[in-house]
Symmetry: C2
C-alpha cells in the first residue's frame, strides 16, 4: 500500500505500544489496556477494521465521558455449580468478557460445561475473541450478546431488537479452528459501502422513513432500521439471544432502548452469555480435532459453483488474512491514525510511529 | 372443513387411540408409542402437518424395514457432572430425545445447566417438543440436531451439510412461551407448495442440475440441493450445529451422507444436542416470567408496516392454532388417513374412527 493512500501500514507491535500507553494514561490498568488492544489487533489481523483499533479512540472518548468505567468493578452475583453471573457496572467490555469466558472454561473443566452471564456490560467487540479463548483451551466456546435496537419484528416498522450476535468456536487439528461470528441483521458495513459508492441496496436489507423496504443506502443509514438476514428466522434467532442475555441475566432489555449510535456519555447497558463445553468429557481431544478436520475437509471438497475458485469454512478467511498481515503489516485508515495521534497529544503519550512499511 | 374435501377432521383423542394401538401392535412399548403420538399431535395442534401423524405410517414402515428399533436400547456412555452422552442404537428418536431432555433438566436442577448428547439417533420431529419440556419445567431449553446433507457451502454446488435445526424455548407469564424452531435451509415445504401450484421459486432457495440457482420448483425438488436461508450466515450456523452434534458426540458426520430422502431400510444416523438452563439459578422464576412478558409485549408493540395486521413472536402462531384446533378438531389429509387405515388392516388394530366433526 503506497504512502499517500488513505491507509498507513503498521506492525501489530507498533500499534499495540501506542494504544496500550493511551489506555494506561487515561486510567485503565495496564493489563486491561493490553487485553483491549489485543482484541482490536486480533480483528485487524483478520481483516475486520470495524472491530479494530478504530475502537480505541471511541473507547477513550467514552471513558472520558463517563459511560465506561476505566478501572474494572465486577460484582459476582452468583458463582455456584456450573453457572456464574457478573454485574459489570459498565467496566470495559472486553476485560469483563475475557474474565467471564475464563470462568466458563474453569467451570467446564469441573462440570463439563460452564455458563457465565454478564449484565450492565459494555460492548466487547469482536464477539469471536472469547469463544476462541475456549478453542485455545481445547473447548467449544459460545457467546451471545444483545445490542441496541435496530431490527423490527416481522411485519413491524420500528426497531425493537438488536442485531444480537452469536459466535461459536471449536478447535481443529491441522485445519484452522472453526469460528462462526455473525450478527442477526444485514451488515451495516455493507450498507455503508453501498452508500459510499452510490449503489442501491437490495430491498431485503433495510426499511425507509415510511416503514417500507428501501433500496436507498443513504436512507437506510438515516433510519437505522435494519432487517434480519433471510427474513423472520434471523429475527427469531436475535430474540432468542435476547432471552439468553438480558432476560435471563437481569440486564436491561434491548440495552434499555435508544438508537444504535448513542452519544459517548450514554451507557451501553448490554448483557452477554458465555459458555464453554469441555471436549475431553466426550472424547479425547486429539480425536475431536481429527473429526473437526474431517468435517472441514468435507465442506471444502464440495463441487464448486461455476466461477467460484474455492470454498471457505467459517473463520477461514480471517485466519488466512492473519497470516498475510503478520507478514505484511496492518493497513490502518489515516483517519484512525489521526484520531490516535490527537489522543496522544491530549494525554501526552508517544504518538504511534511513522508507517512501518509504507514506502 | 366439508366432508368430501381432501381432509377429514378428528379430535386429538381419536387420533391418539388409533396411532398408539398401531405402535403397540408392531412391538413398541405402550408408553413409547404414546410419547411418539403425543409429539405428532403437538405438531398437528400447532398446524404443522409436516411433523404430524403423517410420520406414524413412515415410522411403522421404518420399524418394519429394520432401520428403527421398536424397543429402545440406550447405552449411557457418559453421565458425570453436568453432562451425559447416549448411544441410541437407532431407537425411536422421540423416545430417546425426551429421555435426554429429562436428564438435561435434572442436571440443570443440580448444576444450573445440563447438556445431554445423543448419537446413532433417529429423527425426533418436531424439534421444539424437547425445549418445550424444559420450558414447562421453568427452564430454558435448547436443542440442535444434524440431518442428512441438503445444503452446499457458500460457493459450492453439492449438498454437504443438513438443514440442521435449532430450537430454543423459554417460559413466559401471561404470554405464551417463547419458541424458536428453525431449520437452516429454505423450507422444502414452501418449494413443494410452489411446485403444486406451478409457481416459480426465488433463485435464493435452491440449485438446479447445473449447480446454479434455479427458479423451477420441480427441478429444485429433483436436485434436493437447498440453499441456506439468507445466504452464507445460515450455512455457518448449520455447520456450527454439526460441530455441536455429530463431531462432539462421536456420531456419524452429516448423518453418514446420502440423500435427504432415504429408503425405509437405511438408518438415519443422526446426532442431537439437548441443553437445559435452570432459570431459578439466576432469578426467581416469577421474575423471569414477568421479564419474558415484557420482552414479548415490546416486540408486539412495534409500529406495523403498511398492510400488516399484527406482529407474532416466535411460537405464537402455533399456540393460537392449538387453541383453535382443540376446539374445532384437527384436519388430517385423507392420504394420511388412508395410510393409517392400511396399517390398521395389516396389523389388525381398530381403524381410526370416522370424521369427528366433518359434517
Amino acid at each position: 500500500m503506497a504512502a499517500g493512500s488513505t491507509h498507513q501500514v503498521f506492525t501489530a507491535a507498533v500499534l499495540r505500544a501506542g494504544c496500550v500507553s493511551l489506555f494506561e494514561k487515561i486510567g485503565v490498568p495496564r493489563e486491561d489496556g493490553e487485553l483491549f488492544t489485543d482484541a482490536c489487533l486480533d480483528s485487524e489481523l483478520r481483516g475486520e477494521q470495524s472491530h479494530g483499533v478504530r475502537l480505541v479512540p471511541v473507547h477513550l472518548a467514552r471513558i472520558k465521558a463517563g459511560s465506561i468505567r476505566p478501572k474494572p468493578k465486577v460484582t459476582v452475583l452468583l458463582d455456584r455449580g456450573a453457572c456464574a453471573l457478573f454485574d459489570a457496572h459498565l467496566s470495559l467490555g472486553q476485560v469483563v468478557a475475557a474474565r467471564a469466558m475464563r470462568l466458563a472454561i474453569a467451570k467446564a473443566r469441573e462440570f463439563g460445561v460452564g455458563i457465565v452471564g454478564v449484565r450492565n456490560a459494555n460492548a466487547y467487540a469482536s464477539a469471536k475473541y472469547y469463544p476462541l479463548m475456549a478453542a485455545k483451551a481445547g473447548m467449544i466456546g459460545i457467546n451471545r450478546g444483545n445490542t441496541c435496537p435496530m431490527m423490527p419484528p416481522h411485519g413491524g416498522a420500528t426497531p425493537i431488537v438488536g442485531n444480537n450476535p452469536i459466535s461459536i468456536a471449536a478447535p481443529a487439528g491441522e485445519e484452522h479452528p472453526f469460528v462462526l461470528d455473525m450478527a442477526c441483521a444485514t451488515a451495516k458495513e455493507k450498507i455503508r459501502q453501498a452508500a459510499a459508492e452510490g449503489r442501491p441496496i437490495p430491498p431485503e436489507w433495510a426499511l425507509g422513513h415510511d416503514g417500507t423496504p428501501t433500496t436507498d443506502a443513504e436512507e437506510a443509514l438515516a433510519t437505522g432500521v435494519l432487517l434480519p438476514f433471510g427474513g423472520y428466522k434471523a429475527f427469531g434467532l436475535a430474540a432468542s439471544h435476547e432471552v439468553l442475555t438480558s432476560v435471563l441475566f437481569g440486564g436491561h432489555l434491548f440495552c434499555a432502548g435508544g438508537g444504535a449510535f448513542r452519544p459517548y456519555e450514554t451507557p451501553y447497558n448490554g448483557s452477554q452469555f458465555f459458555q464453554a463445553i469441555d471436549v475431553e468429557w466426550f472424547m479425547p481431544l486429539p480425536e475431536f480435532r481429527e473429526r473437526m478436520d474431517r468435517m472441514i475437509r468435507a465442506i471444502k471438497a464440495a463441487r464448486l459453483r461455476p466461477g467460484v475458485e474455492r470454498v471457505y469454512v467459517p473463520g477461514e478467511r480471517g485466519f488466512l488474512e492473519m497470516e498475510r498481515r503478520r507478514r505484511e503489516g496492518i493497513p490502518v485508515h489515516s483517519g484512525t491514525i489521526a484520531d490516535l495521534r490527537r489522543w496522544a497529544g491530549e494525554l501526552g503519550t508517544e504518538p504511534i510511529g511513522g508507517p512501518a512499511s509504507a514506502t
